[in-house]
């Protein structure tokens, strides 16, 4: 019990330090990088959903982007049709994603490996396209416009002039911190250990009294809540629509998780920052070489793919695992 309390205290301190560091960055960075960092934090929450689902419990999902869409659309409908504030809409979005995760989890509990991957892939393709099927509700392929709005007056009076990108980052930060705290606590709890047991050996964990189906459904529900939260924050940048949550978004989350380290919270953060900032770094390097627009447009995706292949072949644990190994060697 004291060990659990000790973990809890450590996780709280780390989360507070994380919040302070991001807050400092929110003052230091220029608007473009503030906006990029805000996106990285949104994706961090999304990648954490994969860390929980795949990294901890061993269930593969290629459809986290679809669950992000569930969150985004639920919030957009709540804001535009019910006139709710974005904060209430965010809560509703998470609840909607939890429910979607429950339905998905019930189906997923019967599936594993490639069958589960295939099912979630289909969902990633199907859910955003529902927006075009029910155009009058979901706004068709254009989508629904929502945004973070202007920074509140109290924040501006406290911090001086608060830019739109700064506000995006500051509005996202509490949710990222909560996601971090929740993830680190649950992974260090009895629940987290049962998920890992499930991942490592289903039969053994079943013999030890873990209800396999119930546990799988529970992980799916929690993971979906994270994805829904990431989705609504991602949509609040300006628009919720099929083109905001394409299949490539699901693959980007997976790329971030694998590059950073799919079993690590630190890996999720590194992976999120990598997928957001890597194109900028490549762009700034390529400006010296004046490539054609075709090369410039596709190069970031090509390099990400190459890094992904190299990670899987050379360092399957991702960057976080590599850092951990290096520290142990030192």
């Amino acid at each position: 019990m004291s060990r659990t309390r000790s973990y809890g205290r450590k996780n709280l301190i780390i989360s507070i330090l994380f919040a302070v560091l991001i807050f400092i960055l929110s003052i230091k960075l220029d608007p473009y990088n503030l906006g990029q960092l805000a996106v990285a934090l949104m994706l961090f929450i999304g990648v954490l959903s994969i860390v929980l689902l795949t990294g901890a419990s061993g269930q593969i999902s290629l459809g986290q982007g679809a669950l992000m869409a569930v969150g985004g659309f639920a919030a957009a409908l709540a804001i535009l049709n019910l006139g709710l504030s974005i904060w209430v809409a965010i809560i509703l979005a998470v609840i909607a994603a939890l429910l979607a995760g429950l339905l998905l989890g019930i189906a997923a509990a019967r599936l594993s490996g490639p069958y589960l991957a295939g099912t979630t892939l289909v969902i990633a393709l199907a859910i955003p396209s529902l927006a075009t099927r029910f155009e009058s509700v979901f706004g068709g392929d254009v989508g629904l416009n929502i945004n973070f709005g202007n920074p509140p007056a109290w924040l501006s009076s406290l911090m001086g002039s608060v830019g739109y990108e700064q506000w995006q980052l500051l509005a996202t930060l509490p949710f990222a911190v909560l996601a971090l705290l929740f993830t680190s606590n649950i992974l260090n709890s009895r629940t987290g250990r049962s998920w890992r047991a499930l991942r490592d050996n289903e039969i053994a964990s079943s013999l030890n009294g873990i209800d396999i189906s119930q546990t799988k459904i529970f992980v799916f529900v929690i993971s979906s809540g994270f994805a829904g939260l990431a989705g609504v924050l991602y949509g609040l940048r300006g628009i919720v629509g099929p083109s905001v949550y394409p299949i490539s978004l699901s693959l980007m989350l997976l790329t971030g998780a694998v590059l950073g380290g799919i079993r690590s919270i630190l890996g999720a953060l590194i992976g999120s920052i990598l997928v957001v900032f890597l194109p900028d770094v490549i762009d700034s390097i390529m400006k010296h070489f004046s490539p054609s627009e075709q090369v410039a447009n596709y190069l970031p995706a090509m390099i990400s793919s190459l890094l992904l292949i190299l990670t899987v072949v050379l360092n399957p644990g991702g960057i976080a695992h590599g850092l951990h190994r290096t520290r142990r060697h030192l």
Binding site: P31, G140, I270, E293
Partner: protein, 436 residues
């Protein structure tokens, strides 16, 4: 603690990225930075991906003549693949990273919808948008910084719709449109003109961007099954080519195809069909007889002084991968020509408010390659308010349908269609307008 260390390392990495000055964005003593969003890749890109290179070519020409009050124009471009989600990210990049002074000529209705509020909220001039969606322009109080670069789809569709109704009163008319505000806006214009359609029978639609994968066969089969004799297409250029080719495969031969101007570029039509193995001679035959409308001279009309001058600038300055002269190149050049005129007209003390005020007060007197008047004022940010109707000949040139070019004008509401006697200003000797 590894997480905190990770954040700290990431912080250092991120803060190492260049920060930029926050004042007077996009304008220095030596440079004006403009931004454009368009599909450079993806299914909607064919044809439209030439607009940025054409605009840049014109700016390079202006720069070679000394620039605008000594400032060189630099055009930054972002590929949004015609996906609204990417438009949000790329707008942020242009605004915050490239620090553009203004957006010019951004392409796409559904994509621009995702960023127009943000651009306007920041007070950034959003000039000459390549979308004819009337909702962007008819009430400047909603989008005070946004100005059109095309005539509205409503204006064009009302004019063409009236022509169809008057010329083919007994024919059954159908429409194929894309399910966004572009398609719906055009549909609104045609129905305002008195044409009527029945959903899923004589009015069929598709999701923009899917035309390549779905081939539009089910939509055309529905039109064929319902005996549609005149097919209107209100969609991007790539969809036109696919629709006409698919109809040929289905053995569907409507009496007439009528295509809205943004979907009727001959080069794009032939290029897309060429990629499917259709020879230029055959695709020219498929294009022949298609009715369309235009606010501009036909790019094939080399006797037109604007066409001749812009074509030469394109030959000399366009460094894009495909500089073949067509409607898209002409439109890109014209957008840049108008932007240059507005920048000159605003004066050497260039501000965002200044250029918006200049266009609102002087825009209707600005010159352009278009044969149509410009509708810019304090109460409307519409661009071209008149169109002439033509049909493609066997040499892929849009020719006036009655032999003589007649300009028709109307509004984006329910006003009547009338003949316009507008005469555009002559082209300056150096092909650079210095302001009204």
């Amino acid at each position: 603690m590894a997480l905190v260390a990770g954040v700290a390392v990431s912080s250092l990495a991120v803060t190492a990225l260049p920060a930029t000055a926050a004042t007077d964005p996009g304008v220095t003593s030596s440079e004006i930075v403009l931004g454009m969003q368009l599909p450079q890749s993806g299914p909607a890109s064919p044809g439209y991906n030439k607009v940025d290179d054409a605009a840049r070519a014109y700016f390079d020409y202006v720069n070679s003549k000394g620039g605008i009050y000594g400032r060189k124009v630099r055009l930054e471009v972002r590929d949004d693949q015609y996906k609204a989600g990417l438009t949000v990210s790329s707008a942020s990049s242009l605004i915050n990273k490239d620090k553009v002074f203004a957006f010019i000529g951004s392409i796409g209705t559904q994509t621009h919808i995702s960023v127009i509020s943000d651009i306007n909220r920041r007070g950034i001039p959003d000039l000459f948008v390549n979308s004819g969606y009337s909702g962007f322009y008819t009430n400047p109080k909603t989008y005070p910084t946004t100005f059109a670069g095309l005539g509205t789809y409503v204006v064009e569709s009302k004019i063409v719709g009236k022509y169809i109704k008057d010329t083919y009163p007994t024919k059954k008319v159908g429409i194929l449109y894309q399910t966004d505000d572009f398609g719906r806006n055009a549909l609104q214009g045609f129905t305002t003109a008195g044409l009527s359609f029945e959903a899923k029978k004589t009015a069929v639609n598709f999701i923009a961007g899917t035309q390549g994968s779905i081939g539009l066969a089910s939509q055309l089969t529905a039109l064929k099954a319902n005996g549609v004799e005149i097919v209107i297409i209100a969609a991007v250029a790539s969809a036109t080519a696919i629709a006409v080719a698919t109809a040929a495969q289905l053995g569907y031969k409507p009496d007439k195809w009528v295509v809205t101007s943004v979907g009727a570029d001959a080069t794009t039509f032939q290029t897309i069909l060429g990629s499917k193995g259709v020879t230029p001679a055959v695709s020219a035959g498929m294009l022949a007889g298609i009715i369309s409308a235009s606010h501009a001279p036909s790019p094939g009309d080399t006797t037109d002084e604007y066409v001749a001058a812009f074509k030469k600038i394109n030959d000399d300055f366009n460094k894009g991968p495909d500089k073949r002269w067509d409607n898209n190149v002409l439109q890109g050049m014209n957008i840049a020509y108008m932007a240059t005129e507005a920048l000159f007209g605003t004066g050497s003390n260039l501000t965002r408010k200044g250029i918006i005020s200049y266009i609102e007060n002087n825009g209707s007197k600005m010159s352009s390659a278009a044969l149509s008047p410009l509708g810019y004022s304090r109460t409307s940010h519409e661009a071209f308010t008149a169109f002439w109707i033509g049909a493609y000949d066997g040499a892929t040139v849009l020719k006036p349908i009655t032999g003589t070019r007649v300009l028709y004008t109307t509004d984006s509401g329910t006003g009547p269609v009338t003949v316009s006697n507008y005469m555009r200003p002559a082209l300056p000797a150096d092909a650079i307008a210095k302001g009204a």
